[in-house]
C-alpha cells in the first residue's frame, strides 16, 4: 500500500526528523506510480503530484515527527477534495414528469443501470411510476434486453417500431402523460464520442426530451482514454453526473478522478453488480482509498 511504501521512504529519516527535497521527490514518485497504476490520467497525476509536493514541503510537514503519515494525510485530503463532495441529491417530483437520459460508450452498462434507476426511483420516492424508454435502435436485441429487465420489475418499457429515436422520445412523452408515468428513463445506444452522426443524435434527443438529468455511464476499468471520452460527451451534452459501473471488479477506478477533474461533474452513483439492487451511493473518501490502493 502507499502507506507502507511511504513508511519505507521516511523510515530512513528516523532520528533526523526533517523532510528534505530528496525524500519528498521519492515520495512523489511513489504517488505518481500508484495513481498511474490506478488508471488516473497522466496529466492529472502530474498536476496532482505538483500540488501535493507544494503542500508537503510547507512548514507544517517539516515540523512533524511522523513525516510519512503527514504526507499520506496530505495526499488523501487532496484526493478527496478533487473527488468532490457528496452533495448530489437525486430529486424526483411526483407531480410532473421526471426525465433521465442515459449516455455513454458501448458496453458501459447503460441498459442495466436504466433498470436499476427505475427501481430506485420507485423505491425511494413517493408516488413514482416509472417507465423505461427504448431508444437503442441499433444493437441486436437491445430493446428486448430493456423489456426483459422491465418485466422483472413490473415496469413497462416504451418501444415503437422505428429507427427514428426522436420520434420514439416524442411518443414516449405523450404516453407518459396519458398513462400517468412520472419517471421516464431513456436508454440510448452506446456510441463513440468521435462519431459525429451519433453524437448529433444525442443532442437532438436531449433537445426533444429536455431531461432533468443526463447521466454519463462509464466503466470503472477505463484507462487513460477516460478524459477524452468524458470531455467530448460533456462538451456536447453537458451531462449532470457520472455513474461509474462495474465497481464490483478490482479495478482501482482512477477514471473517476480523471472524469471529475476534466468535466467538473460529480460521480453520482456506482454500479456494483449485475442485479437490479446493485446500485450504490458515491462516497468520495472510499473512492480515494480505492484509487490509492
Amino acid at each position: 500500500s502507499l502507506q507502507e511504501r511511504f513508511d519505507g521512504i521516511f523510515r530512513k529519516l528516523k532520528g533526523k526528523g526533517k523532510l528534505n527535497d530528496d525524500n519528498i521527490k521519492e515520495a512523489m514518485r511513489e504517488i505518481r506510480r500508484a495513481l498511474l497504476e490506478a488508471d488516473v490520467n497522466f496529466k492529472i497525476v502530474k498536476n496532482f503530484v505538483d500540488q501535493v509536493s507544494e503542500k508537503a514541503v510547507g512548514q507544517e510537514v517539516m515540523k512533524s515527527l511522523t513525516p510519512g503519515h503527514q504526507v499520506v494525510k496530505i495526499v488523501h485530503e487532496q484526493l478527496i477534495q478533487l473527488m468532490g463532495s457528496q452533495n448530489f441529491k437525486l430529486n424526483f417530483n411526483d407531480n410532473r414528469t421526471n426525465k433521465i437520459m442515459m449516455v455513454g460508450l458501448q458496453g458501459s452498462g447503460k441498459t442495466t443501470t436504466s433498470a436499476k434507476l427505475a427501481s430506485l426511483g420507485r423505491k425511494k420516492f413517493k408516488n413514482i411510476s416509472p417507465m423505461l424508454v427504448a431508444c437503442d435502435v441499433y444493437r441486436p436485441a437491445a430493446i428486448e434486453q430493456l423489456t426483459v429487465l422491465g418485466k422483472q420489475l413490473d415496469i413497462p418499457t416504451f418501444t415503437i417500431n422505428t429507427k427514428n429515436v426522436v420520434k420514439i422520445a416524442k411518443k414516449a412523452l405523450k404516453e407518459a402523460e396519458s398513462e400517468n408515468k412520472n419517471l421516464l428513463i431513456f436508454d440510448t445506444a452506446g456510441r463513440l464520442h468521435i462519431d459525429q452522426v451519433l453524437m448529433k443524435e444525442l443532442r437532438d434527443l436531449k433537445q426533444t426530451i429536455q431531461p432533468d438529468y443526463i447521466f454519463f455511464v462509464a466503466d470503472a476499468m477505463t484507462g487513460q482514454d477516460a478524459v477524452n471520452v468524458a470531455r467530448e460527451f460533456n462538451d456536447q451534452l453537458e451531462f449532470d453526473g457520472v455513474i461509474l459501473t462495474k465497481m464490483d471488479s478490482d479495478a482501482r477506478g482512477g477514471a473517476a478522478l480523471s472524469i471529475k477533474a476534466v468535466t467538473g461533474k460529480p460521480v453520482v452513483f456506482l454500479g456494483a453488480g449485475e442485479k437490479i439492487s446493485d446500485l450504490e451511493e458515491f462516497h468520495p473518501k472510499r473512492m480515494a482509498d480505492r484509487i490509492l490502493g
Binding site: Q106, A141, Q152, L192, S249
Partner: protein, 282 residues
C-alpha cells in the same frame, strides 16, 4: 510524437509518456524505456530518427517473441470441429466478436455453429441468435437460466453429429473477482474437454481497448480458469490505444490474435503490431 533535437532524458521521458498514455502501464513502459536506453548506448545511436525505429523494434520483439516475428493467427485444424471459446468481463464485445468471426468463416465456405452459453443475462441468447442469422451460422441454445455447461455439452454433441467445421462458444460476461463465476468458467472448459479432449483449440480473452491496468489482472485470472491462447482487442475504432496488450504478452505470454474496429460484421481484423504501434506513436 515530435522526434527532433538531441537524444536526451527529456526525449526518453516523452516516449515513456506516450506509452503510459496508451495504457501500456508504468512498469512495462519503464521496461521498454530501459531497453531503449541500453540500445542507445550499445548501438551508439545519435540520430533521433533512429529512436522511433528502435523503440518500435523493441516492442515488436516483445509482442512477437516465439512467433518468428510474424503475428500468430487463429489455429487451423485438419479435424472437425475447430472449437473457439470466448471469455471476458462484462460488456467487452464477446457476443459481437463471435458474430463477426462467424461471418468471416461462413464467407470462406465453412459451416459454423454458435453455442449460446450465456444463459444468464437478459436477451443474451436473442442477441446471439440475431448474429447467427446475420452470419449464416447455426445456433445451439436452451432457455435462459439453463446450466451453461450443459448447453456447451449439448452444443458440442450437436456439432460432432452434424459434422460442422467451426464452433464458437459465447459465455456470460463475468468479473474475475467472483470466484463462483470463475469456477463456472472452469467447469465449462472441463465440459468442453469431456466431449472433445483437445478442445477448445482457441481460448480467447476479449479485452476492451479502453481498459486500463485491470486488463492484466483479467488476463491472469481468466488464464487460470481456462488457459488462454489469445486476446481479441475490441473497440479500437475509438480513441483508446489498447496498450495493455503489451503487458499481457510481456508478462503472461498471451498474444493478440484479432481486433474489433466497429459494430458491423465486417469490423474484424487480424492484429498487426506495426499498425498498433503506429497508432501509439503518431
Amino acid at each position: 510524437l515530435q522526434l527532433r533535437g538531441k537524444i536526451d532524458e527529456e526525449l526518453l521521458e516523452d516516449l515513456e509518456e506516450a506509452l503510459i498514455k496508451a495504457d501500456v502501464g508504468v512498469e512495462t513502459s519503464g521496461d521498454i524505456i530501459d531497453k531503449l536506453r541500453l540500445r542507445i548506448r550499445e548501438e551508439k545511436i545519435t540520430e533521433t530518427v533512429e529512436i522511433q525505429r528502435t523503440i518500435t523494434g523493441i516492442i515488436k520483439d516483445m509482442m512477437l517473441a516465439d512467433y518468428a516475428g510474424k503475428e500468430p493467427g487463429l489455429k487451423e485444424l485438419n479435424s472437425k470441429p475447430l472449437v473457439i471459446l470466448f471469455t471476458g468481463v462484462n460488456g467487452v464485445g464477446k457476443t459481437t466478436t463471435i458474430g463477426k468471426l462467424a461471418k468471416r468463416y461462413v464467407d470462406t465456405g465453412k459451416s459454423v455453429l454458435l453455442i449460446a452459453a450465456d444463459t444468464f443475462r437478459a436477451a443474451a441468447i436473442d442477441q446471439l441468435a440475431i448474429w447467427a442469422e446475420r452470419a449464416g451460422a447455426d445456433i445451439s441454445r436452451q432457455n435462459q437460466g439453463a446450466d451453461p455447461s450443459s448447453v456447451v455439452f449439448d452444443g458440442l454433441k450437436k456439432a460432432l453429429n452434424s459434422n460442422v467445421d467451426i464452433v464458437l462458444i459465447d459465455t456470460a460476461g463475468r468479473q474475475h473477482t467472483k470466484i463462483n463465476l470463475m469456477n463456472e468458467l472452469n467447469k465449462i472448459d472441463r465440459t468442453i474437454k469431456k466431449v472433445i479432449p483437445d478442445a477448445p483449440h482457441e481460448s480467447l480473452l476479449v479485452v476492451d481497448a479502453t481498459t486500463g491496468q485491470n486488463a492484466l489482472m483479467q488476463a491472469e485470472m481468466f488464464g487460470k480458469a481456462t488457459n488462454l491462447s489469445g486476446v481479441v482487442l475490441t473497440k479500437l475504432d475509438g480513441t483508446a490505444k489498447g496498450g495493455i496488450v503489451v503487458g499481457i504478452k510481456h508478462q503472461l505470454d498471451v498474444p493478440v490474435k484479432l481486433i474489433g474496429v466497429g459494430e458491423s460484421t465486417a469490423d474484424l481484423r487480424d492484429f498487426s503490431v506495426d499498425e498498433f504501434l503506429k497508432a501509439i506513436f503518431d
